[in-house]
Assembly symmetry: C2
Homo-oligomer: 662 residues x 2
């Protein structure tokens, strides 16, 4: 690992954690004047195992203005003492501000915590100091060792889950001490300002007395959601859901350690209503009962996964107190039973960007009866909570590099950040990348060609076509990444021209003698044969790429590249300015970066700058469960990220046509 | 009415409103140094109907420290502009602070509202200025005329109900304006920071579109609870419940005008479980299902009343959005389904002092599906929400006189305020005042003797005994007020001695010749005959007061007078210092002040200082519905009022024995 102390200001721990993904050198540090962000320079004191002081570490952090110093540190893996999670109640997050500017305001909590000498010396509670300008911050040694987990794209997350459990042993009431049961309990947990709802109060007096006043308080943020007899602090679980249109993934985690205990995935049970969001929205428009049935199907999918992960890990579902759900705007609306119709028709309006906090039972889950479900907010009808979650996991808002985030799918979401401004948009790519509308297309399952290498001049034993097939079985079709590879390779060897036309057979024999015999016809359409089951197979019996398939891919990639082109233009940037391209989702993991660059799906940058980010939506959901700070960061994205609607732009068509060519 | 402008500082509008109840003169102004309260001196500017300025009015107000200036004004009937109800969002409650002390802090809302010149000149938002010391406050003329209602004991309440309705006509979405439906709505109501729960969001998009974006937002505090098509602003109703152990009263009010539209009362359907709280608590201890049945009975009682008042007023129950419930701690626990057992056994502990806000549906009411139920908080297991509500209605915390509040019943609640400190306690008076344990006792119903006048020396046509009988029918028994009158009159004429013993017949003939023949025996017990159905009736067939009845009353009144004696002692006061005695509840309305003084039920003060306060619990519930300020005042009582537990005091027994005599 890099020596943190050696990092200059402006380079965050999050960057360090992402080190493996950063292009080693030579990308150059783009200079930012920080006008839209503030720089915090942390001096972090710590003690060695034997209690001796060690030299302080220097760390620079760049955050949006208004973020608290505590948040800024927490987001960047710098631990500051706290038990209340930054609510201003525990008075433990002591820091010292060393500032040239005007004095940092003193709050009533500061007055309670510090002497007037300390206040004059710059001591404040970190959760109450807003970073509105550059500050130098000293962090004293921790009194307790914080736990952290690595989540997302190498993000180091300090564990501050909304879910807390506290075991307390209370004194019994007497005539001289008639405090109410609730006050007796909350007095014992005085670093939080707890509230209790009717359900807890109905059980409270009975549980306290049956358990001899030795109980475990179950807390979500500052809401007391249950009081359990005895010490149950070890059982504190949550489930992160990536609620995809096609596939749903659930991960059971222990929020006390950050450890994932079990993962399960399944097809979304809404599939019978249609494969994509538009067909499912249409279903609700044609049948009044469809919304209820789609909601039930989403609930059943989530409930099934919850049951499976709990069973696999041997966890009682009643000990799961929270779930986080990352889904696109339509999946979110359907899971919550909110009418999705306005999402499906222009002008594409959401009911609300931030779904309210609901009970897990409201979305069909049978966990703890007061378990809560957090849904990620959406930036727009087609840049949903899954993308916000992915942005969180990839630290899109906490990095000063120019980064492009692309989630390729039927609807493709694109986010561009230049370290100051973050823009997002959606591009309707259509089903090509999922194998839809492609003659030999199929999902990325066993038998799907996922990689292709062509050798135009292969001779003798050397193969002219090298296929990578999922499951190492005989090729049965072509999935999205194989499609991109096929087209990219055909362009490279010259069998496809810039306009996307397969060149005439005569010319083919010249430019690619080893491959020319694979040009054939199926019906009236020209095709390129990728796999011939037997030497005598007719072209129609083969796995092939057709001229029309190429056109489908061209439209899909043009939609996407139009999206990022216009975003780059908005920020006055060129393709070469992009320092990192994050390809999100499973498709991104299989895509060949070289092919993606070659066909123009991503900007023309070094393939080293192209990173498969994996299931970032699911990772962001885990982060939201493990840290209230990260969750606040996700909500803050609603303010930080601008949504750009492309469909009503005058320059959309011109750019699209430009982008059609390879 | 008194000329407000002529009132000196320290005399509040609330006092003026209570004028009819204040002893006209001669009580003297008790001097307070204000150590526990702060004095605000308001200069209220206003305009005449024609827009001309009129001379400003001066008003002094005394409040607990920490109350906002806005609240302090509102509580005392001084109107300051506001639409958000004091949440800091509408930026309308402009005031100017003229202070000799340190400058009043400037908040970020102040900065948004005022120029720096205005800030330097002392202008602030009144809802954000805490009165921590004496201040002079200038209030500019109102831009809208506030509505007020007279509620409680002559309290002038400025209408600021938690329930608001706002009719809005919204523009439809376009590709250039893709704001979410929720933001579109909340942008149109930007003086409030609205939140929406899942139930509203599920309906929002459909309602907006079906109603052509012309809708009425239904708001409770800052929660959006519904969006109704068209303009429904006129239909905004709430129900105030006085949930008594015996009798339950419901009042339907229009919160837009403060007008009560219908009142209904009924017996509490929990009666079959026992007449008092202890027997009902016992029922839950002996039968696991009793709590559920008691809860259902409370709900059924409330639901029946709700239905009746809505029907009587022709109001759709779906237009009732809030209810307030004032009940003792046991009634509150049972209505909410909270186990009351710890209330019934020493050390008498509540689950929580402040019940959480719940849905009206949670307590069995079938009103608007998201209607909310507010329960008054309790000060102790036996000084419940009904008393807090009564204190609110009688302004116990906003008066600098020394006042004693007594709610006489099986459990008697006593509150004493000297204008600085407020103490409360409970005294177990037993059932005597409700006619229980009294030989000829009965409830205050037709046939009950409620007033008695004796003439020891009546001659000729003059009656020796004059009875007031409820319903003007033949006397059948003796209710509580009659019992007090009977004992008081017997003491006055000398037939009862100081110890409560009926004097010997010989002596009786001397001191009360016209009454001596009414002394008789029923069995072995001496009695005084109050009503003889016919000249030949045996004593046992008559309505009489027995020697044991007198003892019962002695114990009951001693319990009560021990309570207020010890509270007076706590504050270092004598009986004569009490400037007002408020007798709450229906019993208080019928009690003869002279008799109450004579038997020592209340301190020995001029009868002019004894005021029947009526159903103050119900009045307080109305106030809580009509004003969020008043509701906050009720919650503040939890901090302001100390509960004194008498049962474990060393001096309790001695005082009790002292108080037994007349």
């Amino acid at each position: 690992m890099t020596d943190d102390a050696a990092q200059g200001p402006g380079f965050s721990l999050a960057d360090v954690a992402r080190e493996g993904l950063i292009e080693p050198s030579g990308t150059g540090q783009v200079a930012h004047d920080g006008s839209g962000r503030v720089d915090l320079s942390f001096t972090v004191h710590s003690l060695a195992e034997d209690g001796a002081e060690v030299p302080p570490a220097q760390r620079g952090v760049r955050v949006p203005p208004g973020v608290t110093v505590f948040d800024a540190a927490s987001w960047n893996g710098i631990a500051i003492d706290s038990t209340c999670g930054g609510h201003g109640t525990c008075h433990k997050c002591r820091i010292r501000i060393d500032s040239d500017g005007p004095e940092v305001p003193i709050t009533r909590h500061d007055v309670k915590t510090f002497s007037s000498e300390q206040l004059a010396d710059g001591w404040r509670l970190g959760c109450l100091v807003q970073a509105t300008r550059n500050l130098a911050v000293e962090v004293p040694p921790l009194t307790t060792r914080p736990k952290a987990a690595t989540v997302g794209i190498g993000r180091q997350v300090i564990l501050r889950p909304a879910l807390q459990k506290r075991y307390v042993e209370l004194s019994e009431a007497t005539l001289a001490d008639q405090r109410t049961d609730l006050v007796r309990l909350t007095d014992a947990i005085d670093d939080l300002e707890l509230t209790a709802d009717l359900h807890v109060l109905r059980r409270l007096s009975t549980v306290l007395r049956e358990a001899d006043f030795k109980v475990t308080a179950v807390i979500l943020d500052e809401a007391l959601v249950d009081v359990e007899p005895g010490d149950t602090t070890a059982a504190r679980y949550a489930i992160a859901f990536d609620l995809g249109t096609t596939t749903v993934v659930g991960t059971l985690i222990d929020v006390g350690t950050g450890t994932p205990l079990a993962v399960a995935s399944s097809l979304n049970q809404q599939q019978p209503f249609g494969g994509d969001v538009i067909t499912r929205i249409s279903a609700t428009m044609m049948d009044d009962e469809a919304l209820g049935r789609l909601q039930a199907a989403a609930g059943a999918t989530l409930a099934d996964l919850a049951q499976r992960v709990c069973r696999e890990a041997g966890v009682d579902p009643a000990h799961v107190y929270e779930v986080a759900v990352a889904g696109n705007a339509t999946m979110t609306a359907l899971a919550l039973g909110i009418d999705p119709e306005p999402l499906g028709v222009a002008p594409f309006v959401m009911t609300a960007a931030q779904p309210p906090s609901v009970l897990a039972g409201d979305i069909g889950l049978d966990l703890h009866p007061r378990a809560r479900a957090f849904f990620f907010p959406a930036l727009g009808a087609y840049v949903g909570g899954d993308i916000v979650s992915g942005m969180l996991a990839s630290g899109m808002d906490r990095d000063k590099r120019t980064r492009l985030f692309i989630d390729v799918g039927t609807n493709c979401e694109i986010v561009l950040s230049d370290g100051e401004t973050i823009l997002s948009t959606a591009a309707p790519a259509g089903p090509a990348f999922e194998g839809g509308a492609i003659r030999c297309g199929m999902r990325a399952a066993d038998g799907a060609i996922e990689t292709i290498k062509l050798d135009a001049h292969a001779e003798g034993e050397d193969p002219a076509v090298t296929l990578g097939v999922i499951g190492d079985v005989e090729a049965k079709g072509l999935c999205g990444s194989g499609l991109v590879d096929a087209v990219a390779e055909l362009v490279r060897v010259g069998l496809l021209d810039d306009t996307g036309r397969l060149i005439p057979e005569d010319a083919a024999k010249e430019v690619a003698p080893a491959l020319a015999d694979r040009l054939a016809k199926v019906g009236e359409e020209r095709v390129f044969v990728l796999h011939r089951p037997s030497p005598t197979s007719e072209p129609a019996e083969c796995v092939y790429l057709s001229q029309r398939d190429v056109r489908e891919l061209q439209f899909a990639k043009a939609a996407i590249s139009t999206g990022w082109s216009l975003l780059l233009e908005e920020l006055g940037l060129e393709q070469r300015d992009v320092q990192q391209v994050l390809l999100a989702g499973s498709f991104g993991s299989y895509l060949s970066p070289a092919s993606a660059v070659r066909i123009g799906l991503v900007p023309k940058v070094s393939v080293l700058r192209i990173v498969a980010a994996g299931n970032v939506a699911g990772e962001g959901a885990k982060m939201a469960l493990l840290s209230v700070r990260e969750r606040a960061g996700a909500l803050a994205l609603l303010e930080e990220v601008s949504y750009v609607e492309l469909s009503d732009r005058a320059d959309f068509n011109d750019t699209f046509v430009e982008q059609l060519s390879f």
